[in-house]
């Protein structure tokens, strides 16, 4: 079963505890949003659970195997990871960047098998980039770039997706676009764990929410169960009105 499971995960750096005994599970067919203020340890939790950063304690498995012991290529075939840093060093065309998503399958830009080529085309299609396939990536807008990174993540055709702030810096329209694309991936059978800062957006799209503060996951459950004005005050220190899944932020508490 392709699941990402973290149990009692701890990550320390020097004397600071970045992640403190966090547990969660990501299964196919669900979209989980990881919420929390800056510095809560969200990125560290993602890295440690994927085995990209060495954990200090606890366990993390991917598809039943210790995520730290997986080879990078084996890990990439189980989960696509979209980090916050989304630089593109060279002015490659869109299709070539998406093709890099096939790296774990042994492909390179100049040598794609039929299966790789089809996966690339499917990813371009899913992210509505087919018409931009031959454009240089340094001529794209922010929204188009965000879709490009989604497409290269989907091109791996891994069962799971872990994305760190995939809608950071996007206008509301493009935030919806990227989350629609992610939702479609989940509907096709994928499992997605995404870090979001927009609580209303998370409540609208996610099946489950993980609320994180000071390195700990302090609450978890469906948006209906866990979203409240008190929760927003406790997590972010903001005053808010919450009506069902509708959220109106009113100011700092």
């Amino acid at each position: 079963m392709s699941e990402l499971v973290a149990a009692g995960l701890t990550l320390t750096a020097g004397t600071a505890t970045l992640v403190d005994g966090a547990s969660f599970r990501l299964r196919p067919r669900e979209l989980v949003a990881l919420l929390g203020p800056n510095g809560a340890g969200k990125t560290s939790l993602l890295r440690a659970s994927l085995g990209i950063q060495k954990r200090s304690g606890g366990e993390a498995t991917l598809g039943g195997r210790d995520s730290e012991r997986l080879s990078p290529a084996a890990r990439a075939r189980l989960v696509s990871y979209l980090p916050q840093a989304r630089s593109i060093a060279w002015p490659n065309v869109v299709r070539d960047i998406v093709a890099l998503g096939r790296f774990s399958h042994g492909a390179s830009i100049g040598a794609l098998w039929a299966a790789d080529r089809e996966a690339v085309e499917r990813a371009l299609e899913a992210c509505d980039l087919a018409h931009l396939a031959n454009r240089r990536s340094d001529t794209l807008s922010g929204g188009e770039l965000a879709r490009l990174h989604c497409a290269r993540a989907f091109a791996a055709e891994a069962p799971l997706l872990v994305a760190d702030e995939p809608v950071g810096g996007l206008d509301p329209f493009h935030q919806f676009r990227v989350l629609d694309i992610t939702k479609a991936f989940v509907d096709r059978g994928g499992g997605a764990l995404i870090v979001l800062h927009d609580v209303a957006l998370a409540a609208r799209y996610a099946n489950r929410l993980l609320w994180m503060k000071d390195g700990c996951i302090v609450a978890r459950g469906t948006p209906q169960e866990t979203l409240s004005a008190e929760r927003l005050a406790a997590i972010y220190g903001v005053r808010a009105r919450v009506d069902g899944l509708r959220v109106a932020l009113e100011g700092a508490a």
């Binding site: 084996a74 979209l82 790296f103």
Partner: protein, 329 residues
């Protein structure tokens, strides 16, 4: 044929023509027929001597030294995701020439013919490894290049110290040869000493080229798509160190060709760092063969050094790339 394959064939054909021209041109020009006859073991005995003992080794040395620098430049640029990374700029060549000169200075080079290439390679590996380790701790390429400049300045100072203390003018001229870069009077034996290391370095670089493309996405995302970062860094450092060190052992310090060649190649291979490697090696080799023909033909009292000519052409290109990047960002 795909454009990158076409490029390879084109550069390979041009290189063969340039090597042939290098055999024919010189103080006593030879016709193509005479060169061909001498190459095939026929023709005049004097022609065979000139071609096989003097002109061909020299041209081959220029080609090999260039190919090593072109491939190292392309690979380091891929690893550091910056078009300005290059053995010369990062101080790798200077360190190689310092260690080689040091062994030369203390007469240790006479122990064995292998001492010199091994010393140069050790220096190149040390400098490359130092920069790669620094790269783990800093995200900024500017910092890396500054570290490289620091290394180059230090080795320059150490070199000046050795020259300052040089016991006799003969040692001094030896050192100047290393610093200025030249393939004059190279023999088949010189090539045989450097070539194994140089080719091994090229093979390692070529074998690890796929990861350079993944690094286009940045290190974290590259690891995310399945790249073993540690192994990639080690392979590029080892490959660039071996081939650059061997290149310095063969031809001394020749700067900027490792920047210029990949810069020309990149747009022709759709900016794919993996596919820029082989054409960059061929083009850099070709450029040095052509430059060396030029050096030999320019009528001057003292023969111009290949490294000097390369720097005179390459340094302005370096500045041009910096300015253009500055404008774009």
């Amino acid at each position: 044929m795909t454009p990158p394959a076409l490029l390879l064939v084109g550069f390979a054909v041009a290189t063969l023509l340039a090597l042939g021209a290098a055999c024919g041109l010189g103080s006593t020009p030879m016709s193509a027929e005479r060169v061909l006859a001498a190459l095939l073991g026929g023709g005049d005995a004097g022609d065979r001597l000139v071609v096989w003992e003097i002109r061909l080794p020299r041209a081959l040395a220029a080609f090999l030294a260039g190919a090593a620098l072109g491939a190292s430049g392309a690979a380091l640029q891929g690893l550091f995701r910056n078009p300005l990374a290059e053995p010369g700029v990062l101080g790798v060549s200077a360190t190689a020439s310092l260690t080689a000169t040091f062994f030369l200075y203390y007469g240790l080079a006479s122990l064995s013919a292998w001492v010199l290439p091994v010393a140069a390679i050790a220096g190149a590996l040390a400098a490359t490894a130092l920069i790669a380790v620094a790269a783990v701790f800093t995200r900024s390429i500017v910092t890396l290049i500054l570290i490289g400049i620091g290394i180059a300045s230090f080795t320059g100072a150490a070199m000046s110290l050795l020259m300052n203390l040089a016991p006799h003018p003969y040692a001094l001229s030896d050192m100047i040869n290393w610093m200025l870069g030249s393939v004059a009077n190279r023999s088949v034996d010189d090539i045989a000493l450097a070539a194994p290391f140089l080719l091994l370095g090229l093979i390692i670089l070529y074998g690890s080229r796929r990861g350079l493309a993944a690094l286009t996405l940045g290190e974290e995302a590259a690891a995310g798509v399945g790249l073993n970062l540690l192994r990639q860094r080690a392979a590029t450092v080892l490959g660039a160190g071996l081939s650059t060190g061997a290149s310095v052992a063969l031809a001394g310090v020749i700067g900027f060709v490792g920047i210029v060649a990949p810069h020309i190649v990149r747009p022709l291979v759709a900016h794919d760092p993996a596919r820029s490697l082989a054409p960059s090696a061929l083009l850099a080799g070709l450029l040095l063969v052509l430059a060396d023909i030029g050096v030999r033909l320019i009528p001057s009292e003292q023969e111009l050094r290949l490294g000097v000519v390369a720097a005179l052409v390459g340094a302005p290109v370096f500045v041009w790339i910096v300015v253009r990047r500055g404008v774009r960002e």
